[in-house]
C-alpha cells in the first residue's frame, strides 16, 4: 500500500498540477503543527484527522496520503479509520449544513417527519448534498439534547423543539440567498 501511495504521489507530481500541494497550501501547515504537537505518534491518527477535516472541510485523498506519509502508516490504515467513523467525510459538504437528530427522544417526538419533509423539499437523501452544493442534509444518532427534542443543528447551532414548517422556513432562507 505504501508503494501505491508513492505511485499516486508520483503521478501527481508528473502531472505537475499547480493546485494545492503540501508546499504551497497553508492548510497543510496547520496540519503539520498538529502532527508535530502529537509527536508524530501513530495513535494520534484520529486527532489529526479531526484537525485535517476542520481545516480542509473534508478528507480528500491527497490529505489522507499526506497524513499516512507523515505518521509512517500504511494508507490502508488511514483510509480504514477515516471510513470507519461517521464524522469523517470523504466528500465535500455544502455551504450550509442541516443535521437532524434521529435519537429516540427526537424520533418519538416526530423528527422522522422533519427528515422526510426535508428530503422531499431538497430532493436528496440524508447524508447527501444538494447538486448546487448549497445544503448538506445529515442525520445524527443522538445529540444528547433530548430535553428539547426534536433537535436540529443548523450550521453548528443547536435548535430545539422544532416543527417541519419551522425547519423548512430556515432551509428556504438558505436557498433564496445567492
Amino acid at each position: 500500500m505504501q508503494s501505491l501511495t508513492a505511485e499516486a504521489t508520483k503521478t501527481q507530481k508528473s502531472q505537475s498540477t499547480p493546485k494545492k500541494t503540501s508546499e504551497t497550501d497553508k492548510r497543510f501547515k496547520t496540519l503539520d503543527i498538529t502532527i508535530k504537537r502529537n509527536h508524530y505518534r501513530q495513535d494520534a491518527l484520529i486527532e489529526i484527522l479531526h484537525k485535517a477535516q476542520e481545516s480542509f472541510g473534508y478528507l480528500e485523498p491527497e490529505v489522507l496520503e499526506y497524513v499516512a506519509r507523515q505518521l509512517k502508516l500504511p494508507l490502508s490504515r488511514v483510509y480504514g479509520v477515516a471510513t470507519f467513523y461517521h464524522l469523517f467525510s470523504l466528500k465535500p459538504s455544502g455551504a450550509h449544513s442541516c443535521v437532524v437528530c434521529l435519537g429516540t427522544a427526537c424520533y418519538v417526538k416526530g423528527s422522522g417527519k422533519i427528515m422526510a419533509a426535508l428530503e422531499e423539499e431538497l430532493g436528496i437523501k440524508a447524508g447527501e448534498t444538494t447538486p448546487d452544493d448549497k445544503i448538506s442534509l445529515m442525520a445524527a444518532r443522538c445529540l444528547g439534547a433530548c430535553g428539547i427534542a426534536p433537535a436540529i443543528v443548523f450550521d453548528g447551532t443547536v435548535a430545539g423543539k422544532q416543527e417541519p414548517e419551522m425547519v423548512l422556513e430556515r432551509i428556504k432562507a438558505w436557498q433564496s440567498k445567492t
Binding site: 470507519f84 429516540t104 433530548c146 447551532t157
Partner: protein, 537 residues
C-alpha cells in the same frame, strides 16, 4: 499545594462570592434556547441596577429541567424561573430590589425536584464549571487529598468495594472488584480510562455531568489512579459534545496549574496526568475493547475477551475503564464513607442513578434518584405523566435495552429488576412512549440504529442486524407471514447468543421485549390468511 492551601482557596472563594447568586444554565439544552443572551442581559441588569456588590450572575451547568429552559435560579431564596427570555430576564434582577419578576415562576418543591436525591449532581447548577475555585469552595479535591494522605491504595479499593458501587455505564459490574483486579496486576505501567462515549440515543447524563461538574470526574479518576497504581488517564468523549470537551480541557488546565493534576500531586509522590481523546461518531466505541482500539488510533473494532482490559488493555497494559457517572461517585464515597453509601438504594444496587427522562412526558430532563424507586414514581409523579394521553411503555437502556409495558410500571429501578423484565439499566436513558407509538416501528427504529452502527467484524451482528431489519420492514409493510414472525424470534436469539460484543448481544433486545409485551401489534400486521393458523410468539 497542601491541605492549608486547599482550605485557603476555598475560604477566599467563599468570601469572594456575593450573598445573592443568580444561576443561569449555560449547558447545551438551555444554550439552544438562547440562554447565553439571557445571561448577558442578566449581567447588564446587575451592572445597571448598581446591585453589583451583593448580586452576581453565574453561568452554571445543567439544572435538570431541560424541557423548560432556559432556567434561572436565584439563591439563597431558591427561586426558579422557567423559559426565561433575554427580554424578560432583567426583571429577575429588578425583583431582587422590590420589582416584579416577569418570567414564569417554577416550583422548586415539585416532585420533579423534591423526589430527587443528589450525590453526583449535588453541585451541578450551583457551581461555575469553568472555575476550579468554585469546586474547591464546596469541598472539591478534599477526597483526593484524603485518599493520598490518610489511606493506602488498598484501603481505597476496599472502601469502593464496600460501598457496593456498580458500573453506571450499563453493565453493572461491581466497581470495587474491577479496581481490585487492576490493582493486583503486576507491571509498572497501568492506565485509567473514563468512558464518556455516551452513544445511547435518549441518554445525556454523562454530557451533563461533564459540562456541569468536570472536576468531580477528574477527582474520581485521580483517586482511581492512586488506588490501582496508574499514572496516566484518558477521558474518551464523543465529538458530538463540544461543550463538554471544552470544559474538560479548561478543568484539566486549571487543576494542573494548582498542582492537583500532573506530577507530585499535593506534593506527594503520586503523579497522574489526564488526556482527552475525542471520538468520531461510532456507537460501538462505547464498548470497552473498541474504545481502547479507538484511543490507540485504530478502527473501533471490539476484540474478544478474555483477556479483559483489567489484565491487558491499552497498549497491552492493565487498564481500568469506568463510566463518567461511576467516576463521579468516587469522591463522595471517599468523603462520606462506604457505610453512608450502602445505606442508599436496594440490597444489590447501591446509591443513586441519573436518568434522562424524555419522550412523551410532561416534565422532561435529568433526574438523580435513589435505586429502588419505581418506574411509576418516576414517570407519573416526577415526570407528570404523558400530556393528553396514557403511558404505553417506557424504554430503558437504549438500543441494548427493552420496552417495559405500562402494566409493569411498579417495577423498582435497579439492575436486577430491570433485567428480570427483559430490559436493562443501561446508561440511563428513559424514553416514555404513549398510545400513539407503534411498538413494531420502535423495534425497527432500534434495529436500524444497530444495523448502521455494527462494526462489521463478526458475522452474526453484521448480517443478523440487516436480516432482522428487513424482517421488521416486511412485517410493517404487512407482507409478512407467520413463518417470518417465527424467523424473527429465532434469529433474534441467534444474534444474541453468538455475537462478539455487547452491541450484537443486546441488539435484539428491543425486538424481543416488544414481542414479549406487545405481541398483538405484531400479529395485527401479519397477513390475514396466515392469522387463521395458530400463531405462537
Amino acid at each position: 499545594m497542601d491541605w492549608t492551601n486547599l482550605l485557603e482557596i476555598a475560604e477566599t472563594e467563599q468570601k469572594r462570592q456575593k450573598s445573592i447568586r443568580v444561576h443561569c444554565c449555560t449547558s447545551t439544552g438551555c444554550r439552544a434556547a438562547n440562554s447565553l443572551s439571557v445571561k448577558q442581559n442578566l449581567d447588564n441588569a446587575v451592572a445597571e441596577s448598581g446591585l453589583g456588590d451583593r448580586v452576581e450572575v453565574i453561568g452554571v451547568g445543567c439544572m435538570g429541567f431541560c424541557g423548560r429552559g432556559p432556567l434561572v435560579q436565584v439563591d439563597p431564596e431558591d427561586l426558579l424561573y422557567e423559559e426565561v427570555t433575554p427580554e424578560n430576564a432583567p426583571s429577575i434582577i429588578e425583583a431582587l430590589d422590590g420589582g416584579e419578576a416577569k418570567p414564569i415562576k417554577g416550583d422548586s418543591q415539585h416532585p420533579f425536584f423534591s423526589r430527587q436525591m443528589k450525590i453526583v449532581r449535588q453541585h451541578t447548577g450551583k457551581v461555575d464549571p469553568e472555575r476550579i475555585e468554585e469546586y474547591i469552595a464546596v469541598g472539591g479535591y478534599q477526597s483526593l487529598y484524603k485518599a493520598l494522605y490518610e489511606m493506602t491504595p488498598e484501603q481505597v479499593v476496599s472502601e469502593i468495594g464496600k460501598s457496593g458501587l456498580r458500573g453506571r455505564g450499563g453493565g453493572g459490574y461491581p466497581t470495587g472488584l474491577k479496581w481490585a483486579t487492576v490493582a493486583k496486576m503486576p507491571g509498572k505501567q497501568k492506565y485509567v480510562i473514563c468512558n464518556g462515549d455516551e452513544g445511547d440515543p435518549g441518554a445525556f447524563m454523562d454530557r451533563s455531568v461533564l459540562e456541569s461538574d468536570p472536576h468531580l470526574v477528574l477527582e474520581g479518576m485521580a483517586i482511581a489512579g492512586y488506588a490501582v497504581g496508574a499514572d496516566h488517564g484518558y477521558i474518551y468523549v464523543r465529538a458530538e459534545y463540544p461543550l463538554a470537551i471544552q470544559r474538560l480541557q479548561k478543568a484539566i488546565q486549571q487543576a494542573k496549574k494548582y498542582g492537583i493534576l500532573g506530577s507530585q500531586i499535593f506534593e506527594s509522590p503520586f503523579d497522574f496526568k489526564i488526556d482527552i481523546r475525542i471520538g468520531a461518531g461510532a456507537f460501538v466505541c462505547g464498548e470497552e475493547t473498541a474504545l481502547i482500539q479507538s484511543i490507540e488510533g485504530k478502527r473501533g473494532n471490539p476484540v474478544p475477551r478474555p483477556p479483559y482490559p483489567a489484565e491487558s488493555g491499552l497498549w497491552g497494559c492493565p487498564t481500568l475503564i469506568n463510566n463518567v457517572e461511576t467516576f463521579a461517585n468516587i469522591a463522595p464515597i471517599i468523603r462520606e464513607g462506604a457505610e453512608w453509601y450502602v445505606s442508599i438504594g436496594t440490597k444489590n444496587s447501591k446509591g443513586t442513578k441519573i436518568f434522562a427522562l424524555t419522550g412523551k412526558i410532561r416534565n422532561n430532563g435529568l433526574i438523580e434518584v435513589p435505586m429502588g424507586i419505581t418506574l411509576r414514581e418516576i414517570v407519573e409523579e416526577m415526570g407528570g405523566g404523558v400530556p393528553n394521553g396514557e403511558v404505553k411503555a417506557v424504554q430503558t437502556g437504549g438500543p441494548s435495552g427493552g420496552c417495559i409495558p405500562a402494566s409493569l410500571l411498579d417495577t423498582p429501578v435497579d439492575y436486577d429488576s430491570l433485567n428480570k423484565v427483559g430490559s436493562m439499566m443501561g446508561s440511563g436513558g428513559m424514553v416514555v412512549m404513549d398510545r400513539e407509538t407503534n411498538m413494531v416501528e420502535v423495534a425497527r427504529f432500534y434495529m436500524e440504529f444497530c444495523r448502521g452502527e455494527t462494526c462489521g467484524k463478526c458475522v452474526p451482528c453484521r448480517t443478523g442486524t440487516v436480516q432482522l431489519y428487513s424482517l421488521l420492514t416486511k412485517i410493517l409493510n404487512k407482507q409478512a407471514t407467520k413463518t417470518d414472525l417465527e424467523k424473527l424470534e429465532t434469529l433474534s436469539y441467534m444474534v444474541k447468543e453468538t455475537s462478539l460484543c455487547g452491541l450484537g448481544i443486546s441488539a435484539p433486545n428491543p425486538v424481543l421485549s416488544t414481542l414479549r409485551y406487545f405481541p398483538q401489534e405484531y400479529l395485527e400486521l401479519i397477513q390475514e390468511d396466515s392469522l387463521n393458523s395458530k400463531v405462537t410468539v
